[in-house]
Amino acid sequence: MLSFRKIFDLLNLKKQCDQYQVGLWSCPQFLFVVMGVLIIISIISTNIVVRRYAEPEISALIVMGITAILFVIGHAVVSSFERIAEDSRTKSEFISVVSHELRNPLTSIRWQLDLLKNGHFNFSEKQCQEALEIMDNDSKRMNEVVSDMLAVHRVEEKAFKLNPEFFSLADLTGAVLKNYKKQAQKNGTKIEVLVQDGLPPVFADKKKIQMVIEHLIDNALKYGRPNQTVRVEIEKTGKKVRLSVSDQGVGISEKDAGKIFQKFFRAGNVLRHQIEGIGLGLYIARQIIEKSGGQIDFKSRENKSSTFWFTI
């Protein structure tokens, strides 16, 4: 049975709309109530006008005007439903991608452990070492997935805070690149760094900018071809500093170009090239750069190259 509290909650439009996390004018319940009120007003006013003036032209005009308003609101209701449906589709897709990305390393660890535990194949010391290294990488992969999810949650919070300070973007990039040396060597990638002389320091949240640089380098290594050259350029542009990362990789098709910074987006051609990741990196990067007052964008040729850049 419905308790009073439940009935009250059902009538509480703000609470109903909050659950969808959309604005009032995108909330179906609110729009339905507005529509209902308008219908009542239209019936009453038509009635009054017809009684008072009995002029069919005026009443027809009023009816037409209100019909037009109802039509616009009806359209808003439909499109808000579409948005909610799209969100729910994105969410279930996201759950499926995340579980795949967590299960793969998890299975790998489980099966490697089975091999070691059962002493299946009289592992040599070298084979044991390899198995342990694979498990080590797998656990890192799982942690990255979780970190990305938490980072998204954080940048979306209203209380997301940046702690800006003055620092050298070139020094920070140099430090970041040191961590990618091994990974680059592994797939034969050469990383070239070009830094313009006399760059001014930038004023931004150093840790957050480091995250952005890491995402861009990570992507360049993931989506690039083996034995490619990744080029990192830092230069002055107006009052800001611009950092760009270019790779020679799968590129981005025109069809996908508009969606690349969206949440949970993994380009259609990425599924074909089977790349790890859950499609949050560029979304996080854009949130950080835009909230720091910078710009982020890219240019790309499919199957050739991509250049991602930001200014700060």
């Binding site: 499926s96 795949h100 793969n104 299975t107 089975d114 059962n118 299946h120 074909r272 090239h273 089977q274």
Partner: protein, 135 residues
């Protein structure tokens, strides 16, 4: 009665892009000398190897480079020389309609890798071989 012919060595094609899974499976299935595992690392190679080798069973991942597992499965079932080969989907993908989709395309079974230990998964595969391959 054990209907697996002890003399015959069954050929299993494993289409999987993750090298560590490939190696683990090869070692686990070949240890009793009853199976020979043929490896393919992407969808296109998987279909090509199926044509060349005519394996007794195909183990197919779904998220693959070049051609997805769904496409490979469809191509296999449309090819009259290959359509009779039983295909087992072996993946970690599990969204809404995936299981129904592969079953309607003709897959024999849908196994989630993470649900099984190595011993469990190899005995599942052995059972499927017993059930669907005539002596």
């Amino acid at each position: 009665m054990d209907i697996i012919n002890k003399e015959k060595k069954y050929k299993i094609l494993f289409v999987e892009d993750e090298p560590s899974f490939q190696e683990i499976f090869k070692s686990a299935l070949e240890k009793n000398n009853r199976y020979r595992v043929i490896q393919a690392f992407d969808g296109e190679e998987g279909f090509k190897r199926a044509r060349e080798e005519k394996p007794d069973l195909i183990l197919l991942d779904l998220v693959l480079p070049k051609k997805s597992g769904f496409e490979v499965l469809k191509d296999l079932k449309e090819d009259k020389d290959l359509s009779a080969i039983p295909v087992v989907v072996l993946t970690n993908l599990e969204s809404g309609g995936d299981i129904e989709k592969t079953t309607s395309l003709g897959a024999k079974a849908y196994l989630i890798k993470a649900d099984y230990s190595l011993d469990e998964i190899t005995s599942r595969i052995e059972k499927i071989i017993k059930d669907c391959i005539p002596e």
